[in-house]
């Protein structure tokens, strides 16, 4: 019998993966669990293991080629006939979709080797890093209980095409939204019209490609609005100066403005839980996910592209801890060793282009988050103080907000607090 090796799904928005390189050749013996090939997904490179002891079959997809999820890559010839599909109960599957969990990652404990609902819930909880007081994600839905369902393929397609599932009328069994419905509801034409011949472009791959897809989706589906504030950075700079030596001594890392900003954002999020939310587009009409932790992602530019490693519970970490964590993540990123837990679970993103001399910019939301803060450089600028023009170091903060989740006033209050914490950083110790 043969056990299939197929392109696994890692992460909800992944629709295909690229074969990076084969670690074993056709005809080679493999052991169960042994890595057989490397694939690249939207965020990371991952090794695919042999599903059983046996001999590797023919290579069906060469290195460099991409296949959709579920596509056959090879197989392992074994003696024992074993099932090749992923056994999970219907209830477990529903729970996985509800919690955004990839079933291929879930350890099965049910009778017959099935994944049961408890396995999914357990996995969801383990996905949080080991903190004693790990709390459950609370899913608050505003949708009707008797809502028509969406086929998994339709859901993936809707994500990729940026289709709001509420706008897709279901024509499948039981009123399910199926692939055709999503295609019909998709407003964007799938193929560009190009009357004039243009030279063929270099196809995007890997991280670049996924960034492109995600940004397009985000910008197309989330109604962005922007709030700007200019914050005086004097106190911030002074605080940083004062702490540099101590932090270096404690964790061997140089404290940056971004580190402090991560702490500021974490604190502000903790105080404004209405901003610490995410968008759930899978429920018809949409739903608000209230996140339990304030996990701040820091946009990092790598050679491969943009990644956003997440510093968890930023409000609870000390500046030294944040600096250390940030350094770890950036190092890992540079080495291409970021793992999924490093990248998932963010509730807010901070993007700082100040070091490149940018005064001010508007960032695109990092889906499914509600807001992203774009920070420009600290520069001496004229400001009015007591009726007189003086020169102070200031920085521009621009908050991009998803209007489905937040209104102007809520966002403004949050940004106001961020600015306040920057201008009076001693408030962080309150």
């Amino acid at each position: 019998m043969a056990e299939d090796i197929y392109m696994p799904q890692l992460g909800l928005t992944m629709t295909e993966g690229k074969v990076v390189r084969w670690l074993k050749a056709a005809g080679e013996p493999v052991r169960k669990g042994e890595p057989v090939l490397e694939i690249e997904t939207d965020k990371v490179s991952v090794e695919v293991e042999a599903p059983a002891d046996g001999v590797l079959g023919p290579i069906l997809v060469e290195a460099g080629a991409s296949v959709p999820i579920g596509g056959m890559l090879s197989h392992v010839l074994t003696d024992t006939p074993l099932p090749t599909r992923l056994f999970a109960t219907p209830r477990a599957r529903r729970k996985a979709i509800e919690l955004g969990i990839d079933l291929a990652q879930v350890e099965a404990s049910g009778p017959g080797g099935r994944i049961v609902e408890a396995d999914v819930r357990y996995h969801a909880d383990q996905g949080r890093l080991q903190t004693p007081a790990a709390r459950h994600v609370e899913v608050v839905t505003e949708a009707q209980p008797a809502a028509p369902r969406v086929s998994p393929l339709a859901r993936r397609l809707a994500d990729a095409l940026g289709v709001d599932l509420a706008s897709a009328a279901g024509s499948g069994p039981g009123g399910r939204v199926v692939e055709d419905d999503v295609r019909r509801a998709s407003a964007a034409p799938l193929l560009p019209h190009s009357p004039a011949p243009v030279p063929p472009g270099e196809p995007l791959s890997g991280v670049r490609r996924v960034v492109a897809e995600r940004m397009a989706h985000s910008f197309a589906t989330a109604p962005h609005f922007y709030l700007s504030v200019e914050a005086e950075a004097t106190a911030l700079a002074r605080m940083r100066e004062g702490l540099l030596a101590r932090v270096e001594a404690a964790v061997g890392v140089r404290l940056t403005v971004s580190d402090i900003l991560v702490k500021v954002c974490g604190q502000a999020l903790a105080e404004h839980p209405d901003v610490n939310v995410a968008w759930d587009g899978s429920a018809p009409g949409g739903a608000v996910i209230r996140l339990a932790e304030t996990n701040v992602g820091l946009a990092v530019s790598l050679e491969a592209g943009l990644v956003v490693p997440v510093i968890r519970q930023a409000d609870r970490l000390t500046l030294a801890e944040i600096a250390k964590r940030r350094a770890e993540l950036v190092d890992r990123g540079r080495e291409g060793k970021l793992a999924l837990p490093d990248l998932e679970g963010g509730s807010f993103t901070l993007s700082n282009l100040g070091m490149f001399g940018i005064d001010q910019f508007q960032a695109i939301l990092n889906p499914p988050q509600a807001a992203i803060l774009a920070v420009g450089r600290v520069k001496d600028r004229p400001v009015a103080l007591d009726g007189v023009v003086v020169v102070r170091p200031t920085m521009h903060l621009t908050l991009s907000v998803d209007h489905r989740l937040l209104d102007g006033v809520q966002a403004a209050r949050f940004l106001e607090r961020v600015a306040q914490l920057i201008q009076e950083p001693y408030l962080l110790v309150e």
């Binding site: 219907p90 477990a92 529903r94 049910g110 009778p111 099935r114 994944i115 049961v116 408890a118 369902r149």
Partner: protein, 331 residues
Amino acid sequence: MPETIEMTLGEAIREALAEELSRDPTVFIMGEDVGRPGGVFMVTKGLYEEFGKDRVMDTPIEEAGIVGLAVGAAMTGMRPIVELMFSDFLPLAMEQLVNQAAKMHYMTAGQVKVPMVLRASLGTGRGAAAQHSQSLHALVAHIPGLKVVMPSTPYDAKGLLKAAIRDDNPVIFLEHKMCYNTVKGPVPTQEYLLPLGVADVKREGQDVTLVAISRMVHVALAAAETLARDGISAEVVDPRTIRPLDKATILNSAMKTGRAVVIDEGHLSYGVTAEIAALIADEAFDYLDAPVKRLAAMDTPVPMAPILEVATIPNEQQVVATVKALFGRRY
């Protein structure tokens, strides 16, 4: 006057019969040994003396004829209650039930009704052997036009029997022979009816649904107690009426718990458990966390020797083991 009185299943049935005989002169009982002898299970004891031989008729041993007469009497203004000692005798009367009673209302497009009740005992436990221990409710539940009721408690039995007698359709009312004298429970002293076609949740739970019929209700309840000690909360659903089946209650329970075991004393194959399990697997599919399981009588005739007989039907340990095997991680 106390609100309820403790009585046995047999006593509750007798009360229902007596009350309906008093209330409605068109109601009468007919069957073998039901009159002067008081019934082989003593259910009709005393009714002959109270109501006379016209209302409680001893018949010859002619099951087909007796049931046929009941059909004719029901078609022409009476409400006969036929007692067939054992449900094993249903086959003797099947032509009258299946081709006549079940279909008269339909074939005449509503011109005639057949408001009769056929009561019989069923089940193992008496060493009564293969021809006196069966639970053949599946045979009659299969026929459109018939209703089938199987109470498990005295409270259910009295209320359902009264309702069955007042129902304008042919109702087959099956009582477990081992429960007549051993199953006791409170019965209201005030008159009450229970609707046919409505299930009863005998015990609420979160983790698994046990759909149980007749005596198996008590087996399921005992199993639920044992399971509770192991931290598994079982919900026991008693359909009470097999046809028409209260699908909504069964499905809501299965959708809540995600696991279901159907427990019955009919044979495993081609029976009532298959119907209920298919219903759950079909309409609660997306909510299931485990396959739907069935526990029923073995697909063999019932052997006489008690040590063999008891092994042919589901017991508490089997229910507990079956339930536990449905779980993976408990989280």
